[in-house]
Symmetry: C3
Subunit: 487 residues, 3 copies
């Protein structure tokens, strides 16, 4: 008890945002470690190695265009944009945390993808002949996916943590992700093309649990900075739109060549379109005069993409995609209206970006939709070969039937939730240590503490016409001195 007490005290001592030693140290040490580990483990696979030309002849592949690169590179680039511009700009909505949003997002994504290549490589791409991980385009996509999980979690703690904490959170997040993904995709043999469970459910609950552990009772001291300004909301729309537009690529990036990618892209496209309409409807319905709320438009419009992630490559049917999108737009928007304030007040979960509404809940819905769609699969709809192809009923799983697959999908969803919650609590515990340079409660959501900010001089005042030597700052200062004297 005394131990817990002193841990509490330790955690609650005066905050110091100076990361001049810790941040460079962590970056350099980790990057060095990455170089060593890559040197030991990572090699090109047969499609990115100069022996490809010989491999092609051996395998009787007729043309270079059948290199997996050409099947997946356009999707990879779209996913890459989602990770860096999509997630980065989506979080720029805060009035004074745009640098942190886009900059820290950049940092942790660049770090996370290297660690993900290793972790996922050990589980999925290890060549047992020489003990090397052989990587190609699909590994790059998967690394980006893995990072997405951590960026989702970042959304919950946005503005309340330091870059060092984010790096720690990403290191553990990627590790947990790789294990969870191995259990879900390989052991349980669930399918999760767009990662509703693996990425969104896990990432969502991971972030929420971390945020719960880092609960700040006095966060309202920063409330003046917790809103947006006009242009920061427009910046955030850049993130929203790039996520929205490229989500079909996200959900189809690692599905089967041919009809698999084709169908996954279409289902996602339709689900997202449907979500936009119901988001607008609910947003308008719950505001005075039917005005729209930018928070909903920026976030809830994306929920449909999350929720068709698992089932995107299944025969969800076009109308099924619309229905999923329809429901998610409503639930996600209602989440922003009712659930987020409730969670903050009663559950002590402070969720800056509302990832519960955008990722966690839609991810769970996606898992359920996936389980139902898988369980309902029939040979008449998929064709005999199509069914085997779509669900990989091959090798040790060749006798599995769709209903059993449905059960396994549901089990996978539980695994994702458990890993998210459990991992988040564990990591949150670590992040409460007072060594990470996180800001005090009245300094949250403020770039000031981690970034060299330009002088404020957004507007050059019209007074410049009268006396060009006199500048904005002088005016305000002289006003101030006037006030002082007049008091």
């Amino acid at each position: 008890m005394g131990c817990v007490q002193s841990f509490r005290e330790l955690c609650d001592r005066q905050k110091n945002t100076n990361v001049r030693i810790s941040l460079p140290a962590v970056c350099i040490v980790w990057q060095t470690a990455m170089i060593i580990l890559f040197g030991i483990f990572i090699r090109y696979n047969e499609e990115s190695d100069p022996h490809w030309i010989e491999y092609r002849k051996e395998q009787n592949i007729s043309s270079d265009i059948e290199n997996d690169f050409y099947f997946r590179y356009p999707s990879f680039q779209d996913v890459h944009v989602m990770i860096f511009v999509g997630f980065g700009f989506l979080m720029t909505f805060l009035k004074r945390y745009s640098f942190g949003a886009v900059g820290f997002n950049f940092l942790i994504a660049a770090f996370g993808l290297q660690w993900a290549l290793l972790m996922q490589g050990w589980f999925h791409s290890l060549d047992y002949n020489d003990g090397k991980i052989k990587i190609g385009i699909e590994n790059m996509i998967n690394a980006d996916f893995c990072v997405a999980g951590c960026l989702i979690a970042f959304g919950a703690v946005l503005g309340k943590v330091s870059a060092v904490q984010l790096l720690v959170m990403t290191l553990f997040g990627v590790t947990l992700f790789a294990v969870e993904e191995y259990i879900i995709l390989d052991l349980i043999h669930a399918k999760d093309a767009g990662g509703s469970m693996v990425i969104h459910t896990f990432g969502g609950y991971y972030g929420l649990s971390v945020s719960w552990m880092l609960y700040r009772p006095n966060l309202n001291q920063s409330s003046r900075l917790q809103g947006s300004v006009y242009h920061s909301d427009v910046f955030a729309m850049i993130g929203t739109l790039f996520l929205w537009m490229f989500w079909p690529s996200f959900n189809s990036a690692i599905t089967d060549h041919g009809d698999g990618q084709h169908r996954a892209a279409m289902n996602t496209y339709l689900a997202l379109a449907s979500t936009v309409l119901t988001t607008v409807a609910i947003s308008s319905l719950f505001q005075k005069h039917g005005k729209l709320d930018m928070v909903h438009i920026q976030n809830s419009t994306l929920a449909g993409g999350v929720a068709v992630g698992t089932a995107a490559e299944f025969m969800l049917m076009p109308y099924g995609s619309l229905i999923v999108g329809f429901i998610c737009g409503i639930i996600s928007t209602l989440g922003y209206v009712y659930l987020t304030p409730f969670m903050e007040k009663h559950l002590k979960i402070q969720d800056t970006c509302g990832i519960h509404n955008l990722h966690a809940m839609p991810g769970v819905i996606g898992g359920i939709v996936g389980a139902i769609t898988a369980a309902a699969a029939t040979t008449s709809v998929y064709g005999a070969e199509g069914l085997i192809n779509t669900f990989d009923f091959e090798g040790e799983f060749k006798d599995r039937v769709p209903t059993v697959q449905g059960g396994h999908q549901a089990a996978a969803l539980c695994v994702a939730i458990c890993f998210g919650v459990g991992g988040g609590i564990l990591v949150g515990c670590i992040l409460r240590l007072p060594i990470w340079g996180d800001p005090a409660d009245d300094s949250c959501f403020d770039d000031e503490h981690y970034w060299e900010l330009p002088d404020e001089e957004e507007t050059i005042p019209p007074i410049i016409q009268y006396n060009s030597h006199m500048r904005n700052k002088d005016i305000v200062e002289s006003n101030f001195s006037m006030e002082q004297t007049s008091r």
Copy 2:
């Protein structure tokens, strides 16, 4: 006469921007209708269905890479970016209408593409065996194209209509588009790869006619909000550049595999490059001190892409593309200088974004260029097979010769204009009904009426150094009180 009189009065009564019932109702009802119609009509086509693997073997297709998805998906994603980021951000230039520009664009595009899949599907992709519409990647591109026509029209009425009006305008716009497209492409058998006629001419005149019907004599009451601010112009450049860069994908997205797509992309690339130089030249020539006008740079630089739309896949030749771009840059910029003010003053057409200069006129030029290029086609230039391929002189059109094709191209242009003007007048009439929640004349171009706006506090003043508890608002307030007392 009395009837017209009372209709006038009805239309001119007090405006009410409350859309709290109408907007949610329209969104939910329409989205529900979409789900039902998709359930009845829309299915995957053979390339996005799991039976693809069997179809492939039947058709003797050697590899999955020959699925149409791989020919068109990169272009589709580029077109998608143009629709949502391109059109959306291009319209953010107004100082207080960025939310409306990008948000309403998002809404109507997401709605329109669903309805377009149905409308275009009935005309083009209906499988007469089972009465179902079979969709694939090409349908998604065509749906985006169809939506583009409506977004162009949105440009003319930007800031002067409500979201509900935009939805109505899109519903009718998509419907008209599909009919017009069917007449032009199927009945007349004109070619229009980049949609100079089908998309731009139609969309342009549709928007202008609607705007003419919705003429507001007292719009100058909103003139304080009709300009841009520095950063809103930079946001608009995001839209401009994404449109400009991806226009080669737009014009080549649904052209023939192989040389067709290749040539269309190159012609568009060249035409657009040329347009930039003449736009700069004319913009500089018509301003004091040779200064450039952002309105021209944002808009007229795109005119070349519109004008090579029809002829992009023909043998326009590289220099031909440059010439088309050259001319359009000049005409479009002159349109902004002379024509837009003239149209507002004398024709009562208020064209917020100047779509007449960016879409309508260049679209007509594109139709004419297409007709001439088609009429001039010869076997020596195209090759016998090339000529048949390029113009689809097959089936019932196998005896058509290039000169006849040229005539039909010209006829198609007339159809596009008629549908645009006629449809616009009809729809404008409907939109004058006083039930749609449009803003009063002094409330145009203002997000205030349809969006929850963040508090104004863009700049945190330097005074914060002296006394961090004193905030911007306090300063201005105390200044204000001082002034009051000192008067």
Copy 3:
């Protein structure tokens, strides 16, 4: 001596930024020249010509998908985005030069690519049968690459030159580039897939030399405008991220089909990830309290992509890519901290964007890395065919061995530096003529002189609640008058 004296005087006379005659004249004349030259010289190549279908059969190409268009178009579009949005927005960081950054970037890129198609075409794509240049997708990528060299140079002189000067600089830059490229790639037969030498080293030193020739001793008169504001830094991050994300496409765009493109993309992806971490480390280490500097994040994070340009398609190995990125992040950031101020003070080189740290130095490193990697190539690593393929040891170069190739790579680097420095001095000399409309020393970094700017009214003040008829301007004005009277 008197001649030099009078040239000096000529150059130093009163500046006049009126370009109303010169800018339109240059644009129209050059665009007309382009049309004539394109008419004489440029034709479609066999893959973009309607005879493709016959060519395909002759060459026994099994499918349209093997048209080079499908190998390269997605990369082309990514490169296109880097040129227009990437470079354009990267330079928007200045508080009052965003229009110039993105607008002039647009203008010179659109002009440069036409001239590049001709210049590069004469050297590389001339069909000696008919004296025509035959162009296709690869030419478009190369034209964009060539323009990149000039846009890099633009970075050094950003804010200090007129649009006319930029056009002149681009005309000469493209010409020099094409000659230098011909020497390096054809005569020396060096490999430079991502253009570390050809593009970045050349472009960097070209820009720095021009800037040295245009040295402005009194540039501090514009120092009030030489910084950023909060939102301009966020705009610049758009440029940074699109450059960063699409750099894998840049370095792989014109490499060999198959493993070449695959490997180049992966190496670049890894190098860039590594650079981000070391950039953050060094940036934090050199600031008070460990704060990050946006200048470093915006620029140095990209250095790794530059430095793997030459070796991207070689067997650099994944860990090798990380090492290159690691080193470049450090060197580039240190460059911003120490070298840029040193160069300005002691070498009279004013480098607005710090292109020496982002392009010139990393480009040289890239050239060295390329030379070492090439010299170390062995048959055991590449395979016999792989080695020949990767280094094109064919035709007259079939007997060249890797060590000799390494020496030639180093020679190529020297050529790039010489062309950059020499060309820059020459062109700088021309640009000092007082006929180009460049701004005076106290008018640099200001859009005011070349753009019609919107009225300043970024913020509608909170006072609006009290008295909506009183506007921002009035307040400041009345404050001003009060001060005047109170003095």
